[in-house]
Symmetry: C2
């Protein structure tokens, strides 16, 4: 069939190829576990079509996959996804977030690297566009109320700045981040370790429905798949690769969030750490990231925007401290002021002795201080002005 | 008088010189404010004897000090100190902590640098020895109960490791640090911005008495001197210079503790920062030190010991996480275990399909997992062992 013979009601040949490839990729995602190192090494020099042919050939080395290959039915998966309001996005689609291809190089084989064959997406937004300005906010499931509060506040701040919040849909920090983003009327993306039509954990059902409505549910696992420990770990690599940076809010020393942080490092994305009390086990892993792994300490929305923005943009303003009336006084003025009694007036020469300054200097200083309403002159000498006494919290 | 003519009841000539110099240094410390930049520049090329002669000569440029010079009476200061149980330690004394001489170079003129003329010391311990292994623990007066707790715990930990805790005797973090050190039966040193016989703040009287009993009160200001704002700032340079490192526990953005941290930087001593919740204003200054001034984040006694010890010594052990029964399982074992049902047994080929592994591999894995008491075999197939179900918190 030549290009000239294509009619408007038919798909162009490259589209036909692409839809064929889509079915192959669905098959692959059904058969091969996310980031399976055995598959990465068995198929490393093949394109997806060749890999699929190899899998179906029953050739030597393919035994481990044979039972799954026999069960594959991509059309049924697509139909099932459609009825759950989901689609399968692959490289070449407008929605494909090409930044996840960093995973082709990131991670050693033992660490479940690899680019996903495609992404199942549930929700109306365009995945690529939504992830263009995005951060991951991840952390402990058994978080403290401080951690929950911090995650929600920072996520709302991201939403206010049109940054998409990506997380894993788990209890604790993840759920707080998703909720915070939506409270800030922002878009949020949950990357799951199960099918986008599966709700795990069950009690987050209402949250997942709301995310599908206002944001996106994403997974590399086909519909109906259940989560496993290894799928959670493989999922973490996607969260890190899809976003501009990974923020960790509360993580014990042994926490999945540190695994996500490790993936962010391998993908060349900044790891941002939100500190907490040293008395909280839930902050131990976060402090470890700062101490041992050079994570960037962040304490505010401004800090985060600075860390994920191109070098030199959006620099955090130096924290603003309230001005004090004595700001800007030079050393002699400050020393004179220090020597002026609060209530019982003293003469200039007495003040000069106390201040360790000569009396002429002190007289000049006292006049300047009087103009600034910091001291007042009474018949018997100098003392602090009523205003300055009040500012100091005195009588 | 030659050395040969010295009798045992007389002081050796070098001692006579030293006692004369001591009186001169007392006079200087009475006349010149701590770290006064005008004095630093007026006397920079003179030794203390020459400086004292210059001051008493009434020469041009000496006017600012003339009123104070007229009032100097070193013998009376010594007597007053003695009756308060205090002494005046100067360079050349066995007790002199030579590390404070770093202040000769640290700090610009406007920042009140300079080595103290001597140190008034109240308490039985040897100042030099006590400061040999020492850290400063400083922070906000208006601290939170978290900060107070953290300061006391870290100070007690320092005491347990024979490290002297140095602070400023103020409310809040300072007081908590002194108390924590003494609770740990350690030595603590309060460096004051007033005479060592003056109690400021008044309500810390009992604390000061206890420090004088068990540790040391130290000041460069002569007896009876009151504190002033500038004296507090000058005092901070001594705390930083006398210790191996400065730990900041809670500090608002505008806090004297950050001034002490600045002096530590200028003295080439490490600044250590104890993080806190991002929701607490009292931790803002501390986080700023980490973000903007490269302070070392510390969360434990071990962290502190590592930071103040010579390079490579006392490395903090990587935090210990509780072992899990699945630690050390390779990827195939973990994947098989993930695929084993919790309660309803499944056959090996079903588990192989779920795991995405060939059935022979899975059979081998199941045997290994059975030996580790992670799975059990029933007539109808494999499921998790009762022990592992319990470990997972399941039924």
């Amino acid at each position: 069939m030549t290009q000239a013979s294509t009619t408007t009601t038919e798909l162009a040949p490259e589209r036909v190829d692409m839809e064929a490839e889509r079915l192959v990729r669905i098959g692959l995602s059904r058969v091969i576990e996310p980031g399976d190192p055995a598959a990465l090494s068995a198929f490393q020099d093949l394109d997806v079509i060749e890999a699929w042919q190899r899998l179906r050939s029953g050739a030597a080395g393919m035994e481990r996959w044979s039972a799954r290959v026999a069960e594959v039915d991509p059309e049924r998966d697509l139909e099932r996804a459609r009825s759950a309001g989901a689609r399968f996005v692959i490289p070449g689609d407008d929605e494909w977030p090409a930044q996840v291809e960093v995973l082709a190089d990131a991670g050693q084989q033992s660490r479940q690297g690899g680019v996903p064959f495609g992404l199942w997406v549930r929700g109306a937004a365009n995945l690529r566009q939504v992830l263009e300005r995005s951060v991951a906010i991840v952390g402990a499931r058994a978080c403290s109320s401080y951690g929950e509060h911090a995650a929600a506040e920072l996520a709302a701040g991201m939403a206010d700045n049109d940054v998409t919040v990506v997380s894993g849909g788990a209890y604790g920090i993840d759920a707080a981040a998703h909720r915070g983003a939506m409270a800030g009327s922002g878009v949020t993306v949950a990357v799951l370790a199960c099918g986008v039509d599966v709700c795990y954990p069950k009690s987050n059902t209402a949250l997942f429905d709301r995310i599908a409505e206002e944001g996106l549910l994403v997974s590399e696992l086909p519909p109906a798949c259940s989560p496993t420990k290894l799928r959670f770990l493989a999922r973490n690599r996607l969260i890190a690769a899809a976003t501009t940076g990974t923020i960790v809010v509360e993580a014990a020393v042994r926490s999945g969030a540190l695994n996500t942080a490790g993936w962010a490092e391998q993908c060349g994305r900044p790891v941002l750490a939100v500190p907490g009390p040293i008395t909280s086990r839930m902050s131990e892993g976060v402090h470890l990231l700062v101490r041992e792994r050079n994570a960037v300490l962040v304490t505010s929305v401004a800090d985060i925007l600075e860390a994920i923005s191109p070098m030199g943009h959006r620099l955090t303003p130096y924290p603003h401290a309230p001005a004090e009336p004595t700001d800007g006084l030079d050393l002699e003025l400050r020393r004179t002021l220090d020597a002026v009694p609060v209530l019982r007036p003293a003469a200039a020469d007495r003040i000069a002795t106390t201040a360790g300054l000569d009396v002429d200097t002190v007289r000049e200083c006292l006049e300047t201080l009087e103009q600034a309403d910091l001291v007042e002159y009474l018949e018997t000498g100098w003392r602090l002005s009523p205003n300055h006494r009040r500012a100091l919290g005195g009588p």
